[in-house]
């Protein structure tokens, strides 16, 4: 039951997008999302869609993986679209029932909203599919480095994230074990209403938390024994280094961003 939890569904293959420096990808997704909220014309969405389509094609990730990423947010997506479709006031009313009205403006807005959300989710799914969790934490540590001036413990946050990622499978296994042990003694996790089932989880979580704290204590000691003393003076075994392709990717990104911003001036 708990085995299915995975974080960062990385798809292993060799493609240009996989080989790009993770910093480029994180920055790319960040600016792409900004561009989605910047553009306002259908020409802009066309540009955004074309850019995304090119990226997906370059990633060599099968299309169904990207569609899978869409599934959990399908509900949210349909609610957003429906609300915008029926609750947007406008002059060109096409159909009216009680407080619901279908207007030209509403239709247009709902369509834009749908594009925005679909593109946004596809772009971030594409990033997690082509970047290992490890590369992601490395990239975040590097990109957020300027925040250290503001006394944000950037290195520590990145270290915590990567340790959390390492322990997810271990703790899921532990949870599985605890659950089996309690089922063997007659605990029931399957029947009853929602409330009963949630209540049945409590005896699972208490031992899990205790075990997690114990592990954390051990791990801290093991890290100290291996001379860990924070980010100061630490070297990296696999430092992030920009290649030529990363420079090209940044250039493409800037060009796209300029084009997307320029579409605001287009009539459609």
């Amino acid at each position: 039951m708990f085995r299915e939890i995975t974080l960062g569904q990385y798809y292993q293959t060799d493609s240009l997008l996989h080989r790009l420096d993770p910093r480029v990808k994180v920055a790319g997704v960040f600016f792409y999302i900004i561009s989605l909220f910047l553009i306002d014309r259908f020409a802009g969405y066309l540009a955004a869609g074309a850019f995304l389509f090119a990226a997906v094609a370059l990633s060599r990730v099968p299309f169904r993986y990207i569609l899978n990423g869409m599934r959990p947010v399908l509900f949210l997506l349909s609610i957003t679209v429906l609300f915008n479709l029926f609750l947007t006031p406008g002059e060109h009313v096409l159909w009216r029932f009680w407080r619901l009205q279908l207007t030209m403006e509403g239709g247009r807005f709902a369509l834009k909203m749908a594009f925005r959300l679909i593109f946004l989710i596809t772009a971030s799914t594409l990033m997690t599919l082509t970047t290992t969790p490890n590369q992601m934490t490395d990239a975040l540590e590097k990109l957020l480095r300027p925040l250290r001036r503001l006394h944000v413990p950037v290195h520590e946050i990145a270290m915590m994230m990567s340790i959390a990622l390492r322990f997810i499978p271990i703790l899921t296994e532990e949870l599985d074990k605890i659950q089996k042990a309690q089922m063997a003694r007659g605990a029931d996790f399957e029947s009853g209403g929602l409330l009963a089932r949630v209540r049945a989880m409590v005896p699972l979580l208490v031992p899990l938390f205790i075990a997690a704290f114990r592990r954390a204590n051990d791990l801290a000691m093991a890290m100290e024994a291996r001379c860990y003393r924070g980010g100061e003076g630490r070297t990296r075994m696999k430092p992030l280094r920009y290649q030529r392709r990363d420079g090209v990717a940044y250039l493409v990104l800037i060009l796209y961003f300029a084009a997307a911003a320029a579409t605001r001036a287009v009539p459609f």
């Binding site: 990622l165 390492r166 024994a225």
Partner: protein, 300 residues
């Protein structure tokens, strides 16, 4: 290499206001000296203070009394803290709780990264260390996919990559299956033989102790016995009084001897026992058949 003088350690339990509730003396005047290149095993039942002693050598704990010296450095010298931890590596019991990296080679690189070793040299050290424990082919695997013995070998590689003078292993095999135990002990012996790294092995498995150059038996925070494995295991009764088992072959030899067979003291392995029993079996064919039943039942 390692020297403790009258080492005392108290675990103090305090209440919220800082009043002392109870004091447990875990170490009560321990003097040990381990020379470079030795393979020392520390034995003792639960609560005998052996793990506490191990943590003192790595400066994870500080003495309540007495002194600990590692390579001529006092562990209470705050300036030498990181040098001590680099010189005296530590392996813990639970392999899952000491692997930090998500990929084997990244975990092995964690120690050198902390020491500020240049990137190129980290790579070399990682390769060397993984080769030394025979895990080089797993370098790109996730630690979660490895067996317990393999994980523990990765942990050992992670310590070797820091180029320590000695490695303290705190019950490294307690959570492993028999084949995993063998893997780890084999790796430890190889490091001692080939790389001349001093090993301090804390364990309660007697079979792992027989390869040590010296055995220290602890009880109640003190050293109860000390000597070569042969010397220590010739005092079977004294060990039993300390709630310790002896290796299966030693135990069998002890029982046989008590029942009138003239066997030498301090038999450690099946092979030695077989050799010592040979004169009895060659005397008559009948007894030899009985002997067949003795050995397989006591497989260790």
């Amino acid at each position: 290499m390692i020297l403790t003088k009258g080492l005392i350690h108290n675990y103090t339990k305090k209440d919220d206001e800082g009043n002392t509730l109870s004091v447990i003396r875990a170490l009560d005047g321990v003097d040990i000296e381990v020379k470079a290149g030795e393979f020392v095993a520390i034995l003792g039942h639960n609560g005998s203070g052996k793990s506490t002693l191990a943590k003192h050598i790595n400066a994870l704990l500080y003495p309540s009394g007495g002194e600990v010296w590692v390579d001529g450095m006092n562990t209470e010298d705050a300036e030498k803290l990181w040098e001590i931890r680099q010189r005296a590596g530590m392996i813990f019991q639970n392999p899952d709780n000491q692997i930090i990296g998500q990929i084997v080679e990244e975990d092995v690189g964690f120690g050198p990264e902390n020491l500020g070793v240049p990137t190129q040299e980290i790579r070399e050290r990682v390769d060397e260390s993984l080769k030394a424990v025979g895990m080089l082919e797993y370098r790109e695997k996730s630690p979660n996919r490895l067996s317990g013995g393999q994980k523990q070998r990765v942990s050992i590689a992670g310590v070797i990559a820091m180029h320590p003078g000695c490695i303290i292993m705190d019950e490294p095999t307690a959570m492993l299956d028999p084949s995993g135990r063998k893997e780890v002990i084999r790796a430890a012996r190889a490091l001692n033989d080939v790389e001349r790294i001093t090993i301090l092995l804390i364990t309660h498995y007697m079979e792992e102790v027989i390869y040590a150059s010296r055995v220290i038996v602890m009880d109640g925070g003190r050293i109860a016995m000390q000597g070569t494995p042969r010397e220590v295991f010739s005092h079977v009764e004294k060990l039993k009084a300390l709630h310790l088992d002896v290796p299966a072959a030693t135990e069998l030899a002890y029982i046989l001897k008590k029942n009138g067979l003239a066997l030498p003291d301090g038999i450690l392995t099946k092979e030695e026992l077989a050799a010592a029993l040979k004169p009895y079996f060659s005397a008559s064919g009948q007894e030899s058949e009985q002997g067949e039943h003795v050995n397989p039942g006591r497989e260790c």
